[in-house]
């Protein structure tokens, strides 16, 4: 082989390698795009909700309320009659069945919405007001174009009569799409139109907070001790190997552990962010210790020697010089560990977080769900409205993860100091 041929061969090898690299990046991006597209196209509509404009008349006699009624009196009052009256005014219904069909166009929470509007403005008694009442799940899906209307009537959940009303509403422009505040504010519900991730958000927040409070100090202290102070011998080697092994243990094992120890032995309450937080902290600990130790290791020994040489004690050299330098790496390791914990579902299934929780938890020992669990729960629900809710929750979860990962990168770059 001549020199030219050999050179050409070497260049070709490099070209091939570049091509393979590009191709694999292309494939990876393609799959990410397909995934993101799939989630976004299904989920983006969940951020809007369909509402129907209804004229509500707060009839004094039907409500049995006087002007200046107290808050308790209003809460006790029966808004059922005026709700039905107002909803029926939307379209002329001829008989009971048609009236039922008409009322079914609205959310089951219509009465509560009308009550709330009144609570916000107690002077409405005896007056008329136009309210945007949330439409039922079926109408919502129809209005968003997710429900086929060309099927024969007996295969549809929406009757011909309801379609007729819907068309009139669209023509009169009384049906509108608004921002879906329920999605962020409400807890879980069996009615997709009023179901939200509020409870799951709070639950996830508490879980991650407890996880952070437990895992961060323990992990940081453990890694500083192991890296800087502990003698290097068989015991510390053994501990190190075990930490690495623990980081690779499937998360469901931690769920089993929590089930046995936290729930069965210590008898902590099931389905609560407290237990979730402790479980996730156990799972996250080794995953924080490893990057922590790596960033401590990355601090050059000359810094330690410099400090020792001016007469700093070991403790001072570690805490004044080494830890501040390792902090950015430690923080970003922690955040990435927490991001993993945020998306974790498997251990939560075992400690009873896969539960239908309507009330938004106020403390970490109230039953609660969490974001990934909410995804799991909704993906199993039969109602079609939950399909978009599932994807929208995934979108929220993904955006939290992206924010956390960016934060980790930002912290690392912002506070990273250069050393020789």
């Amino acid at each position: 082989m001549t020199k030219e041929q050999r050179l050409k061969k070497r260049h070709n090898a490099e070209k091939r390698f570049r091509f393979y690299g590009l191709a694999s990046i292309f494939f990876a991006l393609l799959f990410v795009l397909i995934l993101v597209h799939n989630i976004f196209s299904k989920g983006s509509s969940a951020f809007m909700k369909t509402a129907i404009n209804v004229e509500v008349f707060y009839d004094k006699d039907l409500l049995e309320l006087e002007l200046g009624a107290s808050e308790e009196e209003i809460l006790e009052a029966d808004f059922f009659d005026i709700t039905i009256e107002s909803l029926l005014k939307v379209y002329p219904a001829k008989n009971m069945d048609e009236e039922d069909a008409l009322i079914e166009l609205f959310t089951t929470d219509a009465e509560i919405e009308i009550k709330k509007a009144f609570l916000n403005n107690k002077n409405l008694i005896g007056k008329k007001i136009n309210l945007e009442i949330t439409a039922s799940d079926d109408i919502d899906q129809l209005h968003k174009g997710n429900y086929p209307r060309d099927l024969p009537e007996d295969r549809r959940r929406i009757s011909n009569f309801q379609l007729e009303i819907y068309d009139v509403l669209v023509e009169n422009k009384t049906i509108t799409k608004n921002f879906n505040n329920y999605f962020f504010k409400n807890g879980d519900s069996r009615d997709p139109e009023i179901a939200g991730i509020g409870g799951a958000l709070v639950g996830s927040f508490y879980s991650i907070l407890i996880c952070l409070l437990l895992a961060f100090p323990v992990a940081v202290l453990a890694s500083i001790y192991l890296e800087e102070f502990a003698p290097k011998n068989k015991i510390t080697d053994f501990i190190e190997i075990n930490i690495n092994n623990l980081a690779a243990v499937p998360s469901i094992v931690y769920g089993l552990l929590a089930l046995q120890i936290l729930l069965a032995t210590i008898q902590l309450p099931r389905s609560t962010p407290l237990v979730a937080g402790i479980t996730l902290a156990l799972m996250t600990l080794p995953r924080i210790i490893i990057p922590c130790r790596a960033s401590l290791k990355a601090v050059p020994p000359s810094i330690r020697e410099g400090a020792l040489a001016v007469g700093a004690s070991k403790f001072q050299s570690v805490f004044h010089h080494v830890v501040p330098l390792a902090l950015p790496g430690t923080l970003s390791g922690t955040i990435i560990g927490l991001a993993q914990a945020l998306g974790e579902t498997a251990p939560l299934i075992l400690i009873g977080m896969v539960a239908f929780v309507v009330d938004i938890p106020s403390t970490p020992i109230d039953p609660s769900s969490s974001l990934p669990v909410q995804v799991y729960l909704w993906s199993e629900s039969a109602e079609r409205g939950f399909v978009e809710k599932t994807s929208a929750t995934i979108m929220m979860l993904l955006s939290f993860l992206i924010v956390m990962n960016f934060l980790a990168v930002y912290l690392r770059q912002k506070f990273e100091k250069r050393w020789n």
């Binding site: 295969r155 959940r157 519900s189 069996r190 099931r270 239908f356 009330d359 039953p367 199993e380 039969a382």
Partner: protein, 339 residues
């Protein structure tokens, strides 16, 4: 440093304190994923209407629910467990051993399993035996047990379509699969096969073929519906409520000439129907607030009757006589014998 340690210790103390004084003012329900959708709807209505917090419902499966339910009495144990079958003698023994001696049984309603395919496919009708022959691991041919030889529906019976057999089955952990096994696989199993299987007939009849004609789908019924829509040749089975919710996408084939319907499941004339239950721990009534009121709401006509809200989401209501028994049990807190 000292600050950090004291914060940490304080935090642990708070955890210890709050949990030691832990008591519950919220009903806890565990159990079957089949009953879950109905129980959640009742719980939500119950929470909105009254002075009580919304019950928390965990979907653990019937068996898992029983285990938790029977683990003991006290705030850390659930008050109610849902079940897609009646409590087993073994579970009763476990309950009794752990001091759960008084249990109230409530029959919620009936559930039918529909054998369905895409709307675009032609209507079909199967007998239980045909379904068993299509799904079983071993079948009898000419008086001998052989590995399932059928590749097309027409291989089983000339009247069936000349199409490849393709069935999505629920995983063995699901209550739906349990019910399918006992109502279809065991009942559809031929006498010849049963006698050939001998002692293990029940288990052997329910064994599902693993040669690719029956595909195991996940627990997720929504996913099965999606797969059926995209493949008109495939069949799958799932709870009646999924059929109701997705009737624009899938339709049921008749079994023994009967289409699944409310009335058919109610009087069991549709052959794949079963009752659903929940069980209440009597010792918790009066301790955990709202259990009695929850029972009242669940068994009210508003919820359970033919025009009730549970019927709307696919629960098949009880016939009126059975309804009376359930309602009385709920109001008078009649316990069942666990001996």
């Amino acid at each position: 440093m000292n600050k950090l340690t004291s914060i940490f210790i304080g935090f642990l103390l708070v955890i210890g304190f709050t949990t030691s004084s832990y008591s519950r003012d919220q009903i806890k329900i565990v159990g079957s994923s089949t009953v879950y959708p109905y129980a959640t709807v009742v719980a939500e209505k119950f929470g909105k209407s009254g002075k009580f917090k919304t019950p928390v419902i965990e979907s653990t499966g019937t068996g898992g629910g029983m285990k938790l339910f029977c683990a003991g009495v006290g705030a850390n144990h659930p008050d109610i467990t849902n079940a897609s079958r009646a409590i087993k003698p073994k579970e009763k023994t476990l309950c009794e051993k752990n001091g759960v001696s008084e249990i109230i049984e409530i029959v919620v309603g009936n559930d039918g399993i529909s054998f369905a395919h895409a709307v675009s496919a032609p209507d079909a009708d199967f007998t239980k035996e045909q379904l068993w022959r299509a799904l079983a691991a071993k079948v009898d041919v000419d008086g001998k047990l052989v590995e399932n030889p059928y590749k097309k529906w027409s291989d089983i019976d000339a009247s069936l379509p000349n199409k490849k057999i393709e069935i999505l089955v629920a995983p063995p952990t699901s209550g739906t699969r349990d019910a399918w096994n006992s109502l279809v696989m065991v009942k559809g199993c031929t006498k010849t096969a049963k006698s050939l299987f001998g002692d293990k007939a029940k288990k052997e009849c329910a064994k599902i073929r693993e040669d690719g004609y029956a595909v195991e789908a996940g627990e997720n019924d929504t996913l099965i519906v999606q797969k059926l829509t995209s493949n008109p040749d495939a069949f799958g089975f799932f709870g009646y409520s999924y059929l109701v919710a997705n009737k624009d996408k899938v339709k049921a084939s008749s079994v023994e000439g009967v289409q699944p319907s409310l009335e058919g499941i109610q009087d069991y004339s549709y052959p794949i129907a079963r009752p659903l239950f929940f069980y209440v721990k009597k010792a918790h009534i009066g301790v955990i607030p709202g259990i009695q009121e929850f029972l009242k709401e669940f068994t009210s006509k508003k919820a359970m009757s033919n025009r009730g809200y549970l019927a709307k989401i696919g629960l098949v209501p009880l016939a009126s006589e059975e309804y009376q028994i359930t309602r009385t049990a709920a109001l008078d807190l009649n316990t069942i014998s666990i001996k």
